[in-house]
């Protein structure tokens, strides 16, 4: 083997060891976690961050959390300098980049013989962090304070020991203190293990070689990405998407628009500006900028080949900006709890614009798969059911897949048997919503019908959208069917607003959820191609 071939192998070994470590960390958090949103839906992420705040490796986790860990690590770096071995900072503060108050991040430095090798960082969605309603994501919040307790970066763990006084403050502000304690324990243990493993890795290579390899590895990754960016045509492209704001069925919906402008430079790098989006709103759909970065990284990743490592190599090639005071970069204390819907639309607008720039067959028609959770609080607990997703948009290459998570959330569904073990309800029906995909040369994927019968008193909140317009088609394809939320009591149907909250449910009530189909691609021909 030649010298350069050998060094390419060295970098691969190095990169895979980092990636394997990030995945190990994430798996250990998932396995040890308590709340269903982690244990069944994998709503958490783990990453290794360089001392410069760039991703060395990111676990195969939730894409919407992609840009968050490195942002937070960069924000916390000045504080991290004062940390010692076994110390962990935690925060859920959107001011430091946390997407919403439910997401607690840990950042722990990896210091080997005085050398700062980087940071281990994790993010976990905690089921309840206080605030106005169970689950901490009230759809009618007008400011951040209604969404729970805000925790600026604090040292929750000192030399491996949990600060129990601080912990008691966090737990006292949750409606599910036991579950939160279990999840935080899993997150802390995962972080400490990550630090230990990364320390071993640094020692194995020695600090000098590690330092050189981590730079070479990111440069090499960047070169791989840049080679593929040549497929984007220089120029300026833009796309917009609209979300309806509607929490009272008696009143009309308001509309809020996100706008992505993408400038492709001669070297293929992308500058994305979201400043054309609407001003921030006094409702919890605002998206913090770290989350818009996630959306951009996910979108770009969809246009690159699978082999590229998931690290700063991609991060370096895309820049995301937005003027303050927009829904895509709100001034705090704006409410941000239910940002996933708008973040998904930001991602979709970016995919749309990138597709215009790319122009090859990989350009997507539309992405209709959306997660629309509902939250149901009852005497015995709080259910956050994320199993309600829609159909994917079709692409120039093929029809859209039915009922699958989009590339923004990618959580796993809650198995119905486990869900019924944990909560007093019966899942009466889970079915493809046939015919809901948009028409086209390639049809959009179908959405879902889900019928849930509550067996106890409870309080229901919805986080749906796309009730006014379905996922748009592309290249002349049709729109997917709109979503619908219905409460059935004693046989009488009552249509709910997609973001309605505080709906009191009685035993025997049925919630009928119909999610949107994906958009179609291309004009429909005389006969469809089986899509």
């Amino acid at each position: 083997m030649t010298g350069s071939a050998r060094s390419a192998v060295t970098l691969q070994v190095f990169g895979n060891a980092l990636h394997g470590l990030a995945n190990e960390l994430q798996v250990s958090m998932i396995r040890a976690a308590y709340s269903p949103i982690i244990k069944e839906m994998f709503d958490c992420s783990a990453g290794l961050i360089s001392p410069d705040g760039e991703y060395l490796a990111l676990a195969d986790g939730i894409p919407l959390q992609l840009g968050v860990l490195s942002t937070v690590a960069r924000e916390l770096a000045p504080l991290a300098r004062d940390l010692g071995p076994g110390d962990i900072l935690v925060t859920n503060d959107p001011a430091t980049g946390s997407p919403h108050l439910n997401d607690y991040l840990t950042v722990a430095p990896v210091i080997v013989d005085g050398y700062l090798a980087g940071y281990v960082s994790t993010l976990m969605h905690h089921a309840d962090v206080g605030g106005k309603t169970p689950g901490s994501m009230p759809a009618d919040a007008t400011e951040l304070f209604a969404e729970g307790m805000r925790c600026p970066p604090v040292r929750l763990v000192r030399a491996g020991q949990v600060n129990e006084e601080l912990m008691s403050v966090l737990l006292a502000n949750s409606r599910l203190p036991d579950s939160m304690r279990g999840d935080l324990d899993a997150q802390i243990a995962g972080t400490l293990v990550g630090v230990q493993r990364m320390t071993q890795l640094v020692r194995r290579y020695g600090t000098t070689v590690f330092d050189r390899l981590r730079r070479e590895y990111l440069d090499y990754s960047e070169a791989l990405v840049r080679a593929e960016l040549k497929d984007f045509r220089p120029g300026t492209y833009s796309a917009a998407r609209t979300l309806e704001l509607h929490h009272d069925p008696a009143s009309a919906a308001e509309l809020v628009r996100v706008h992505a402008e993408i400038r492709v430079a001669d070297d293929g790098t992308l500058a994305i500006d979201l400043s054309g989006s609407d001003p921030q709103i006094a409702l919890p759909f605002n998206v913090v900028l770290s989350n818009s970065r996630s959306a951009a990284l996910v979108a770009l990743r969809c246009f690159l080949s699978d082999e590229l490592p998931m690290n700063a190599g991609i991060e370096r090639c895309v820049r995301v900006t937005c003027l303050p005071g927009r829904v895509t970069n709100p001034d705090l204390p704006a409410p941000v709890g239910a940002r996933a819907a708008l973040a998904a639309l930001v991602n979709e607008a970016m995919i749309d614009a990138m597709g215009q720039a790319h122009g090859s067959i990989r350009a997507a028609g539309s992405s209709g798969g959306t997660t629309m959770p509902y939250v149901w609080a009852h005497a015995g607990g709080i259910l956050i059911d994320n199993s309600t997703t829609g159909g994917m948009g079709a692409t120039a290459r093929q029809a859209g897949e039915s009922v699958v998570d989009n590339c923004v959330t990618n959580a796993m569904s809650y198995p119905n048997e486990v869900l019924e073990q944990d909560h007093p309800l019966l899942i009466e029906e889970v079915r493809l919503r046939r015919g809901s995909g948009g028409a086209g040369r390639h049809g959009g994927g179908d959405g879902l019908v889900r019928r849930v019968r509550f067996l106890a008193d409870g309080m229901l909140s919805l986080r749906g959208y796309r009730t006014l317009g379905g996922p748009p088609g592309a290249g002349g394809g049709g729109e997917g069917a709109v979503s619908r939320w219905t409460l059935i009591r004693d046989g009488r149907e009552q249509v709910l607003a997609p973001q309605q909250t505080g709906i009191a449910t009685l035993p025997g009530d049925v919630l009928l959820i119909e999610t949107p189909g994906g958009g179609g691609f291309g004009p429909e021909e005389g006969t469809s191609d089986g899509a």
Binding site: N23, F42, P63, I351, V404, A411, S413, E420, V430, L432
Partner: protein
């Protein structure tokens, strides 16, 4: 084909002949032992009748090893019939009876995508027939209470429709059946009344565990494979009953344990990785014997190449497998490309490159190898059986790694035809992809090596294990021919060669034990007396059942080991941790909780002694000796020239040909070819190969090829 050796017997019945048969995509490998004698052979796999080469092997073994009264008592068998049925979608037409409201369960899946970063996601094609999914009015709740009674008339009606639509198997999958299988059982009985003889699989009988998608998917796999496996094993059993009959037939399961053919017929889902498992067992055995910490078993067959990570002599077992999807090697976070299978499977990665892989030119004129294979019929061009497309084996022959002389004749292959290989490879020269036939052969060899190295990377690099720090254990007839180049590609410096790498899977069969795994789902708290009684009752019953089944499957031999595990978790968690018991006795509560706490710490680095603990599954495993022999092999001399022209990296050499038996502890330095009846070990220039341990294994070290190691401080 015979290698009539004189090995030392450790144990075994001296008069009985045991035949191990591994049916691969290209060859059927046979290893037969009788007392202290062993016979090794390879037959071309016969796709018209897979059982024929097995019977031929049995007859040859009796003639070669036996006297007039000799009888073949046992045939042990590894098969790829199950996995091929899935890959080629040749399984049964399966109908599904499912709880009302859930007809689309399998199409919906768990929503998560293995690769979130693609706009062109596809779910795997279903193994049930979507037109044959029938909803049945019935329902139990999460406590096992009946919410809606079973409508048997509806079951009968659905069964009639399925018969009319020519369903070949039916699955009954009802919600919460793991708590109480009564509805599934009654529905199965109703199907049997309407359609006697139609195979029915009940999901709770296959795995009594919660999570409807995974449980019903596993049941569907069992039903899909049932008729194929049954037809195949019955045909084989029939052939083995021909005069003079063989007493018993064992089959290798994906877990690396043996089962009787009757058991395998009722649990075909346990066979999906039968063939590869045997090869890994052999590699693990070699690793244990050499005291190697981290190794990768690398098995190159005619059609595919497999790799498995072996740590401390033990292969990894994956309880959460997927079939029919992309190679992900059990990666927890990359689920979603195949069909979930909840059955213990040895963890391995597989890619579609092997000796029979065909070389071709793509639209841009670039050379490609595989995944199309010439299989065994017509086989590589050099076999002279009508194949005219160039394959990896043809390249190996032209490069001098294989011998065209009669050594192989005994293997049933006939002479390898150099002229035919040349003619096939020359098409690549004519098309402008190479300057000469040797140049073309080198290109095919290098490309195949690079692809096969990928399989090793999947089980090492991708799990953060540095391939430069592990030991490669090659097997498969072509494995030792390519292993040196694959090791070089990966930066691996040490290789370990088992006694008969060319028939390692068949040898692995002889090194395996009968194994019975039984499980039952519960929800018990060890701190409650009533729950402890329940656990004890389950343990007692499962132990007795497993021991009985093992004894029965091992023809009355007493079980060698009987062990139990409890899957445990803190109340409120979902994922469980297996806690080993001493034998099958339930320990005192404090002891059990201490063990669980320790296991939880080991797995997740923390525990919470104040929390309630639950048991969710009781597992018992019984093993029983298969009674087969374990020998220290010797190698018969293979007639061959003492020197051969061989090309390494485009440079021609004349290299010595050394008999395997002649490689001693002092060893020799390459270039050389070490020849034995089942394979050729290619030793490149500068490499050193020597016998280690008791002499049954060879260790090869490759020369360092370039500058300073990247690691400064080790």
């Amino acid at each position: 084909m015979r290698n009539d050796t004189d090995p030392t017997t450790e144990r075994g019945a001296p008069d009985e002949i045991v035949v191990a048969a591994d049916i691969g995509g290209t060859f059927t490998d046979i290893v037969a032992v009788r007392g202290d004698r062993m016979l090794v052979g390879k037959f071309p796999t016969d796709y018209d009748d897979l059982s024929r080469p097995v019977r031929d092997g049995v007859d040859l073994a009796r003639r070669a090893l036996g006297g007039p009264d000799a009888r073949v008592g046992t045939v042990i068998h590894a098969t790829t019939v199950a996995t091929n049925a899935v890959l080629e979608r040749r399984g049964a037409k399966v109908g599904l009876l499912i709880t009302k409201g859930f007809a689309d369960l399998l199409q919906i899946g768990r929503l998560r995508r293995a690769d979130p970063y693609t706009l062109d996601h596809r779910k795997p094609a279903l193994l049930v027939d979507v037109d044959l999914v029938a909803e049945i009015d019935e329902r139990m709740d999460a406590s096992g209470k009946v919410v809606t009674p079973l409508n048997e008339a509806e079951v009968e009606e659905a069964a009639r429709r399925m018969v009319a639509a020519r369903a070949e198997a039916v699955v009954v999958g009802f919600l919460h059946s793991y708590l109480d299988p009564a509805h599934e059982r009654r529905a199965a009985a109703a199907v049997a009344r309407v359609a006697p003889g139609l195979p029915v699989v009940s999901s709770a009988e296959i795995i009594p565990e919660a999570r409807e998608y995974e449980r019903i998917s596993t049941a569907v796999i069992a039903a899909y494979l049932g008729p194929v496996v049954r037809h195949y094993l019955r045909r084989l059993a029939d052939r083995l009953r021909d005069e003079p009959p063989v007493d018993q037939l064992w089959v290798m399961k994906s877990s690396g344990g043996l089962a009787t053919a009757d058991h395998a017929i009722t649990h075909p889902e346990e066979l999906v990785e039968s063939g590869p498992a045997a090869g890994v067992i052999a590699a693990a055995w070699a690793a244990r014997r050499a005291g190697v910490e981290t190794a990768v078993g690398f098995d190159m067959g005619g059609t595919t190449t497999k790799a498995a990570l072996i740590v401390d002599g033990t292969p990894r077992i994956n309880h959460d497998y997927e079939i029919g999807g992309a190679a992900h090697s059990g990666d927890f976070l990359r689920k979603g490309t195949g069909h979930p299978l909840r059955s213990p499977v040895i963890d391995l990665a597989e890619i579609g490159t092997g000796g029979g892989s065909i070389a071709w030119l793509d639209a841009t004129g670039a050379l490609r190898v595989g995944p199309r294979s010439a299989s065994s019929t017509p086989g590589p061009a050099c076999y002279g059986r009508g194949g005219d497309l160039p394959t990896v084996t043809d390249a190996d022959l032209l490069l001098g790694y294989l011998d065209s002389a009669p050594a192989k004749e005994a293997g049933g292959l006939g002479v390898l035809h150099r002229d035919l290989a040349e003619a096939a490879l020359s098409t690549l020269v004519t098309a402008g992809a190479a300057q000469s036939v040797v140049h073309a052969a080198s290109g095919v060899f290098e490309l195949a090596v690079a692809q096969m190295a990928g399989a090793v990377r999947l089980v090492s690099l991708a799990k953060g294990v540095d391939p430069r720090e592990l030991i490669l254990i090659p097997s498969g007839g072509a494995g030792p021919v390519h292993a040196w180049a694959i090791a070089r590609e990966l930066g691996t410096s040490t290789l370990l060669y088992p006694a008969f790498p060319g028939v390692a899977s068949a040898l692995g069969l002889l090194q395996s034990e009968v194994r019975v795994d039984l499980a039952v789902g519960v929800r018990a708290r060890p701190t409650r007396a009533a729950d402890r009684d329940l656990l004890t009752a389950h343990l007692t019953r499962l132990a007795s059942d497993a021991a009985g089944q093992a004894r029965e499957q091992a023809s009355g031999r007493e079980p060698g080991s009987l062990t139990a595990q409890l899957d445990m978790r803190y109340a409120g968690q979902t994922y469980t941790i297996p806690v080993d018991l001493d034998g099958t006795r339930l320990p005192a509560t404090d002891d059990l909780l201490t063990r669980f706490g320790a296991a939880h710490r080991a797995a997740y680095h923390h525990d919470t002694p104040s929390r309630e603990v639950e048991v969710t599954t009781v597992r018992v495993t019984a093993t029983a000796p298969s009674g087969t022999v374990r020998t220290t092999p010797r190698w018969a001399a293979v007639p061959t020239a003492t020197e051969r022209p061989v090309v390494f990296d485009g440079v021609p050499y004349r290299v010595p040909v050394v008999q395997r038996a002649d490689v001693d502890a002092a060893g020799l330095t390459g270039p050389a070819l070490v020849i034995q009846v089942d394979t050729t070990i290619v030793v490149p220039p500068g490499a050193h190969i020597r016998a280690v341990g008791d002499g049954s294994l060879l260790e090869m070290r490759l020369p360092r090829t370039d500058g300073p190691d990247e690691k400064e401080t080790r």
